[in-house]
Subunit: 359 residues, 2 copies
């Protein structure tokens, strides 16, 4: 079985090593952009704000999954292109966060001021600094997306490989944008429609965060359509579990744990499966409390505690926890059924444990 | 000279034909996206709003210049890739317009409601429709940028040609974003600093609208660095003239001519060379009137007429007209000095005439 061992060097997949390699690549890229700005006389705060966001935190989930997909598909040899594509994914994610925070008017991200707040502080002496901050963040997001492209364009991929990568990537990006749009339409009008909430989660998260990054890595390793289908069967339920877990964090976690404002989803009236399940079952005063979110009323801290109590009392929290277990279990079972090489299964089990915890 | 004639088929460069070919390509692309949205159950208004913007008007300046660069550099044979890259440029421009209108809160574009207004109308029954419109337009701009990439990725370019194209393109996009940021910083605080105004114009317009599109076409034809340098020498002063002309239109044109709101630049207090020159010379009440723009006060129609009178009386308008002539002349003189093939010179003269009018 020596050949299989070489083709699937599962032991070489090291999530911590991937994080470091991707962060090193992003640092080199941003350093070059800082020098470019200095040479051209462009304002330095643009790269400064982006650097704080990109290098100031983040779990690097998508880059790790991209490299995992590469290993799982039997990738070997020069890792440079896959690390660079993974770095491009992380830069793309930074773009998505900047614009997400603009749309949600989130004050913090990764425990620091969000990009529009950082620009507003930088220009605090000017009239209209808040609007300037938002506009600058729109531009910074655009620039970050363009720079994510630049990382991709300079990854040294040849025609066929590049075409396979961009085919997955273009689909991923379109799905995310529509997912964000559906999220926007659902915000402030949550309903008992659990399926609609899961559909948003599917596009915004299961596909964007799990399925597509795994597939990107796999096509970088030159895999075929069959393996990509297996990665979908594994990645979609796993991604759904990941998003449901994020919904719980969004409702129950305190800031230090996530770097986001407390109970942000609740305050924004996000249409999550958690809230939809609670709305199905709440009656009387409990229902009125939840419906306040539907009218776009941002709850005060004391109400947040009450809403959390309703999420518990209606059993919505327990049901989401059960859904997470089910999705997680379904993802793991596909690994047994798909007839994948043992080393690929091992990598993907590591992925599941990293995202959700032990089975 | 038969060989030269084949290598530089100047007579084949037909700006009207380019416009039609690019519009046909964009129509096919958007039709496919409409079918995709229907198949996936995505809301149809996303493609609808984009289609109205992309196909509802526009002079297609950048696509025309891209194809002109291709002809000027001796491009021949299959035009499909160059038309597709030109279409990608136009899609990129649509992205820039959507976000520009968000930042400026422009109500109209190309004589129709701007994207954020169109989304707000679509959702007019909802509370917070105006904010939803703006957020949706941020996402639409993002999606449009992603789709501009998809057009590029599917242009069928091979590794070396693709690397040459993206090298120009990545630079162009970064320059535009910084130019937009400089523009943002200058808006609402115009000063007598003509150089600063010309610098914004250089990045936002001369490079983005003229130099880079010409170079993109040239590298698609496989040209070398020397020819790209000649295109810079020609394109930058021509682009400056084009922007100065746009400044005059922005201050003096009525809506039907440009599709933009009347005197939009003045109302937004844009830091244009026109305004900077007027500020240098205005005294007393004239100066107070202009300085009102510096404090971000949007003038009423009657004041717009007064500001126009000041732009005339100070001689700023005449000086800008003279600058346009000088830049235009400088661009044309480079064609005589660069030792370019006569057919290339002929294409570039057509470009100058299309942008600025007869010399």
């Amino acid at each position: 079985m020596t050949e299989t061992t070489i083709a699937f060097p599962a032991r070489a997949f090291d999530p911590v090593g991937v994080r470091h390699a991707v962060e090193a690549r992003l640092t080199v890229f941003l350093d070059a952009k800082e020098r470019l700005a200095a040479a051209q006389g462009f304002p330095a705060e643009v790269v400064d704000v982006l650097r704080d966001l990109v290098l100031g935190g983040g779990k690097r989930v998508r880059p790790v999954l991209c490299v995992a997909g590469w290993y799982a598909a039997g990738g070997r040899g020069d890792q440079d292109p896959v690390v660079q594509v993974a770095a491009s994914l992380e830069m793309f994610h930074a773009f998505a966060l900047v614009h997400d925070d603009v749309m949600d008017r989130s004050a913090t991200r990764r425990g620091r001021p969000s990009a529009h707040e950082a620009f507003a502080s930088h220009h605090s002496g000017r009239p209209g600094a808040a609007k300037l901050g938002v506009d600058a963040a729109v531009l910074l997001g655009d620039l970050t997306l363009v720079w994510s492209d630049e990382l991709l364009h300079t990854a040294g991929l040849h025609t066929d490989r590049f075409a396979a990568v961009t085919s997955v990537l273009d689909e991923m990006r379109t799905e995310l944008m529509y997912g964000q749009y559906l999220d926007l339409l659902g915000t402030g009008c949550p309903s008992p429609d659990v399926d609609a909430a899961l559909r948003i989660a599917r596009f915004k998260s299961a596909k964007y965060t799990v399925e597509r990054p795994l597939q990107l890595g796999a096509v970088l390793a030159g895999t075929q359509a069959g393996f990509c289908a297996a990665l979908s069967a594994f990645g979609l339920p796993l991604g759904e579990a990941f998003q449901l877990q994020d919904d719980l964090l969004g409702a129950f976690a305190d800031t230090p744990q996530t770097g986001k404002p407390i109970a942000e989803d609740l305050r924004e009236g996000k249409h999550t499966a958690l809230l939809a399940l609670a709305l199905r079952r709440a009656v009387g005063g409990e229902r009125d409390l939840l419906m306040g979110l539907c009218q776009g009323i941002r709850p005060e801290p004391v109400q947040v505690a009450q809403i959390r109590a309703v999420l518990e009392a209606t059993g919505a929290r327990a049901e989401v926890e059960q859904l997470i277990d089910e999705c997680h279990g379904r993802a793991l079972r596909t690994l047994e059924d798909a007839g994948l090489p043992p080393a690929a299964v091992s990598v993907l089990r590591t992925v599941a444990a990293t995202l959700i915890g032990p089975a």
